[in-house]
Amino acid sequence: MGRIDAALRDLRSLDALAARDTPLSRLDGRAKVLTTLAFIIVVVSFDRYAVAALLPLAAYPVLLAVLGEVPAAPLARKLLLAAPFALLVGIFNPLLDRAPMLAFGDATVAAGWVSFASILVRFALTVGAALVLVAGTGMHTLCVALARLGVPQALTAQLLFLFRYTFVLGAEAARMATARELRSGGRALALSAYGPLLGHLLLRAFERAQRIHLAMVARGFDGELRSLRTLRWSSRDTAFVLGWCLFFLSVRLVDLPQALGRLLLGAAP
């Protein structure tokens, strides 16, 4: 049960981080959602070969993590967990796009490698920012903020339940894995046994989910999400959104690393 359980605990700890009182958690959830959305749009809007120009944007997730006192190690673990998807998306670029693009003396780098690197950087930036957003806001407050921004309740409630039931399904899976391990005698499970096992897992998770739903209904849940933390938009939130958007725009319009390089090289005789 070790691995599934550990992964669940890790994911949960991310959400629990938001319960602490940090400069980041004190910001209005809507400000963080809007700014992160702007961030993702800017990251995605760059040219497909952009790598260096993207790097200054790392300031956003890094600074947010510092403000939210989010520890780096679990964050990095979760990034790695999602990394195979990005690798899969970009892995064929170096094979398909072989035109030389960069030259270091005699060695050339194919354009495909550059776009592959660009995909990885974008992945790290956007997923990192989203993880920090969850860790600094909490899934519940995040969903409340989304609802207040006009996202339909049906969607935000779904999102919250998806998050909640991940743990339900995960806990059931961990229990079944332990039960299987204890009686397997170290042998691998036959492939044909996985079908019924998964079906069983689904039914058990269904039953559990139903009980959780009943428990929520018994405490007056009517589909609307409410939170103890009232969302209160202050001048600090306006400054947060405007300041970052200004930064994103300037990074998008001016290639800072290149400008810096030119400045340094130009200054050298």
Binding site: R12, D15, A16, A18, A19, G138, M139, H140, R164, R208, R211, I212, L214, A215, M216, V217, A218, R219, G220, F221, D222, E224, R226, S227, L228, R229, T230
Partner: protein, 246 residues
């Protein structure tokens, strides 16, 4: 008439897959009464409890809380009057912190956050869990989880408390604390349990259920003395009656 009155009239229910669960159950609990419901697994204890909160609606007959029949339309009101503590506290606790979880009910009742916060504090203090407010529910011990789950229901200020197997899975000390806690409540209490000693300690009346019907109804001491009845219902005399103190 008080809304603390809980009543079932000729209540019958079968689960959607056709399994019959209750056959014409009638009972009536008055204000402040503490009633234990005991019986074998599958005798219909939980099914009956779920009717008192509108989480199940009767196939025939009716359940009433005070003046209100329990129907789909009155369910929201019923939820405020009847607090339901689930058997598995993990099914009930789902917010990232204890404080937010206990606030879930009061916020759903439409209370403003400040008011809800006051309710949360009072409820956590009532169950002796004020120090857990900022903790994550899934990191608590079984006894702490149970206390927090009860606080989550108390925070809604119900008149009637319904508890499904409250002492299951608790260590003896936690169970003792729970019993002491239950004795402090002046609510009408309806407790389904296999823990007959808990019934002796907390309840003034006991219903014995068997195969979806009420087999016996009376004061715990008298009921638990009827060994033949207990055997028929897959029960055993409570330990404290087998070896009386002193």
């Amino acid at each position: 008439m008080s809304h603390h009155l809980v009543e079932a009239r000729e209540l019958s229910f079968a689960y959607p897959d056709g399994t019959p669960a209750l056959h014409g159950v009638s009972c009536r609990f008055t204000h402040g009464e503490a009633v234990g419901i005991v019986g074998a697994n599958g005798a219909g204890k939980s099914t009956l409890l779920l009717h008192f909160n509108g989480l199940l609606l009767p196939g025939s007959g009716e359940a009433r809380i005070g003046e209100l029949p329990v129907t789909a339309g009155t369910r929201a009101q019923i939820h405020r009057t009847v607090g339901y503590v689930f058997q598995d506290a993990d099914d009930q606790l789902f917010m990232p912190t204890v404080e937010e979880d206990v606030a879930f009910g009061p916020l759903n009742m439409g209370l403003p956050p400040d008011e809800a916060r006051a309710r949360v504090r009072a409820a956590l203090e009532a169950v002796g869990a004020a120090h857990l407010a900022r903790r994550a529910p899934y990191r608590l011990s079984g006894g702490e989880k149970r206390a927090v789950a009860i606080a989550g229901v108390l925070a809604m200020s119900p008149s009637v408390l319904v508890l499904d197997e409250p002492s299951a899975g608790l260590d003896p000390a936690a169970r003792r604390r729970l019993i002491a806690l239950l004795r402090t409540f002046t609510h009408t209490k309806i407790i389904a349990t296999h823990d007959l000693d808990l019934v002796l300690d907390v309840c003034t009346r006991v219903l014995v259920m068997r195969e979806g019907a009420i087999e016996a109804d009376g004061p715990p001491v008298a009921i638990f003395a009827d060994v033949e009845l207990l055997r028929r219902c897959h029960l055993e005399p409570p330990l404290s009656s087998a070896c009386p103190p002193g």
